[in-house]
Symmetry: C2
Subunit: 509 residues, 2 copies
């Protein structure tokens, strides 16, 4: 097969270079206004770099990004908020490889499987980059014969989708998943997933949000009642899922023209899927003469009633409602499904599509693990995924608008000197600070100017400076300077660590 | 090109399946004794799963691993120790994509480049999985025209090497890198890197260690003096780098027979590279009549002298020495290089090769960023990499030997009941706990038995149980049980959160 590899390599080398440039040019000319300055700078660097000759093209792959120290500081705060919530609910964490056997992934995403990244056959197994964290989780459960597990997993996933900064769609992005696997009494873990989602969105302070809930069984029952053949259920779910991007009229047209559903059936569906509400609506539907005849719908509605009771006890009922139009794209859902949308972003545009506001989602998938188990043993699962990339871009924007200063380092003390030839003394002092667990820096210069050292403190938010010179060395003291107030005190050298620790504690409280 | 894709897919599907099985069988029959129980179990699952028919092959790709909750708990403790040291030294963090443009990676690893994973050409750019974090860092600096940066990066890298559990060699593994980029006064950042390495290995408590230091300039100077042509320098470095795996006699033979160096030259090299020692050796070498004639060696030795002065000030001189045999494999090093080895592991075998004990390494690479910069601007860099996978397997083994119990969850309180039909009350209470930031769980059963609930606490190390029943509900109290001492006290419902917080603080101190 070697000649084929050669052919491929040669052709792709010559063919694709110009395409990269074209994409790059398109990408930057379609930059939306709300793109952050950081992203703009990055793109312009990519262009400049791409234009230079002789050197390798200096860019990141299409649809991927570097994150600067400032961006990472924001991201880490988001992750730590999310992880502390996951841990508050007793979740463990696992890790799985970034690639899986190709055949293992290929069969679980339906139409979406075309977006999977494959690795080249370099002699060995056929591998693909993971598309989400759910299928690897199901594989992990089946492989290790685990029947119960509450786990979170925060990791990168890969989709060869058309990237769009505006829509926050990237080819490499982080998923934050929380799932509860195991056979339990109905709707208790489902309710906890919704509570987790609610806690995280509240803690991240991204404004008001609402959680739409539905159940695949209710949807499928309604489809049956309206006379849609079972084979078209998944297709109709996909079409319905577009409701956050296009209008109900357009969805109806697509159902009739593209999915081949009769106008009568579409009207029947229409009657139901436009309904949304709380416990009152559930009661009404439980008595609906058409619905009562369908077992699946009744099961779904009874569970929904129970779920709403639990959500009331959890105190989050005001932010949730049953939305019969909610379908969710993925094929593996079997029961309750949900999606959180931001109601009004601080800096949202009036014409912004609703899909930009979807920031979390999830649902129940009771059959996926069985697909991997050699004996087909079922492990029912329910879970949620936090749309952390979208939340990151909202929070990053909010920070920029509010001109909030973000520290990228945590340094507490700078060891400084106003005089020459004090490097050795500074090194001894900073070593003591490090050994005592204090975050300390000094400039990597033998003889830096004091002003430069103090400016570094101010720029990077270092609260304390230890200043040493001839006088201090002779007197066996160090000068401790509060960078903000500029007040200085002399401290005996033998107790300067304790004094600094005491002061740092004060800063923290 | 579509017919080629079809051909490839068809052929690889049928060709590679039997190979996978053969590899799997080989892999498990070659399992060393010291492999952990976890890994063994995992492999046996993979075999069982592979043997079943009808379902997809249930295994992870060759040379990769899942990590269980218990393993993740150990790993996270290691990462947090490492990160806190990196932050103590004022480092920021960045993130880069897991894949880069293929051409960008291909040229920087010499012979090793054959181990790079390529992505399939699915119409677009030619991409490869990153091989380390150093080249992406250099690309990041050049692309963003950053002249100074102290950053750490902890992330997965990929090498299509022959995997070996025994040697702790995997195809997917995490690198923990800390680098200082920028033009500074000599050896100050270099000394800090060694201090960072020292602090981390000390904090991880993996036993005594020693850091070997050398300088590529000293090595190259010695090669010149011994009459080795410059074109063979890199090759000789690679051969020398095998000294931790094979004996000096074998290395000598390889130099003569494979690298084509004359026995006289090898003897000349031999005279120098077997030397190791501290400041005394440096002084001696500075006066060596042959060495004084080579500018490069003298530069390297003068810097080494300065470095040792700084390491004395940092108080780590006892764990470092100049080893003229240290070469390090990678091509991009230009100055000081270092490697930390464990002197004696708690559970090491007598015949264990030295290479198993190498747990950290790094050095100075002053030319790499310039390779990416369109104008060839230099950004001198020095850095280190912690061999976290090897350290993980040592720490995991130590934990297993000491039968230390590892908590995989952080849950502080279980909400329990001895009676039926108390789910609603429990849900109200647990919700209050969560909202107060307390880590709480309850079993997902309407009516679990009390014994089962208390056993769950004991098994998972939950210190407190809140117990509620008929009596407690009527009296407006909750029962608080200390799981270890089994002591129970009644607390008024309105103050149970405060009481729990008070007790948890006590547990933490």
């Amino acid at each position: 097969m070697q000649w084929i590899t050669v052919l491929r390599t040669a052709s792709s080398r010559t063919q694709h270079l110009p395409v990269q440039f074209r994409i790059l040019r398109w990408f930057s000319s379609h930059l939306p206004n709300q793109v952050t300055e950081d992203a703009k700078k990055q793109l312009s660097h990519q262009q400049n770099a791409g234009a230079s000759k002789g050197n390798p093209i200096l860019k990141v792959p299409k649809g991927t990004r570097d994150f600067s120290p400032k961006q990472m500081a924001i991201r880490e705060k988001i992750f730590s908020t999310i992880i502390s919530c996951f841990k508050r609910h007793g979740a463990v964490t696992i890790d799985t490889p970034v690639f899986e056997l190709k055949e293992l992934l290929q069969e679980n995403y339906g139409e979406e499987a075309k977006l999977i990244y494959d690795l080249e056959d370099q002699g060995g197994e056929m591998l693909s980059l993971r598309y989400d964290l759910t299928v690897p989780f199901a594989r992990f459960l089946a492989m290790n014969k685990i029947k119960r597990c509450k786990r979170y997993h925060i990791a990168k996933v890969y989709r060869r989708d058309s990237p769009s900064i505006k829509r926050g769609r990237f080819r490499e992005f982080i998923q934050c998943d929380f799932d509860i696997a195991g056979q339990y009494d109905p709707m208790i873990p489902d309710a906890e997933c919704l509570k987790v989602m609610h806690e995280i969105l509240t803690a991240l302070q991204v404004g008001d949000f609402h959680i739409k809930i539905n159940d695949r069984r209710i949807l499928q029952g309604i489809f049956t009642i309206c006379g849609i053949p079972e084979i078209k259920f998944e297709r109709i779910c996909s079409t319905l899922d577009k409701l956050d991007k296009i209008s109900w009229e357009e969805v109806k047209n697509e159902m009739i023209l593209e999915d081949g559903i009769s106008p009568e059936c579409v009207n029947c569906i229409s009657e139901y899927v436009q309904l949304h509400g709380g416990p009152g609506l559930i009661e009404k539907l439980l008595k609906d003469p058409k619905l009562v005849q369908n077992r699946l719908v009744m099961e779904g509605l009874e569970d929904m009633k129970l779920l709403f009771e639990y959500l009331t006890l959890f105190g989050i009922i005001d932010q949730v409602s049953l939305h019969l139009s909610l379908a969710r794209g993925l094929a593996y859902y079997t029961g309750v499904i949900y999606e959180a949308v931001l109601l009004c972003q601080k800096h949202s545009r009036p014409n912004e599509s609703l899909s930009l506001r979807s920031v979390a989602g999830g649902g129940r998938y009771d059959e996926l693990v069985a697909k991997f188990d050699s004996k087909g043993h079922k492990v029912p699962c329910v879970g949620l995924s936090i749309g952390v990339e979208r939340l990151f871009s909202i929070i990053e924007q909010n920070n920029e608008m509010s001109k909030q200063k973000i520290r990228t380092i945590e340094t507490q003390v700078l060891v400084a000197t106003p005089q020459k030839n004090f490097l050795a003394f500074k090194m001894k002092l900073i070593s003591e600070l490090w050994n005592a667990g204090i975050k300390a820096e000094m400039l990597y210069k033998k003889n830096p100017r004091l002003l430069e050292q103090l400016q570094y403190c101010e720029e990077t938010g270092i609260p304390l400076a230890v200043i040493v010179g001839e006088q201090e060395l002779n007197d066996g003291i160090v000068k401790l300077r509060d960078v903000v107030t500029r007040k200085e005190v002399n401290i005996p050298q033998e107790s300067f660590i304790e004094e600094i620790k005491r002061r740092l504690e004060k800063y923290n409280t």
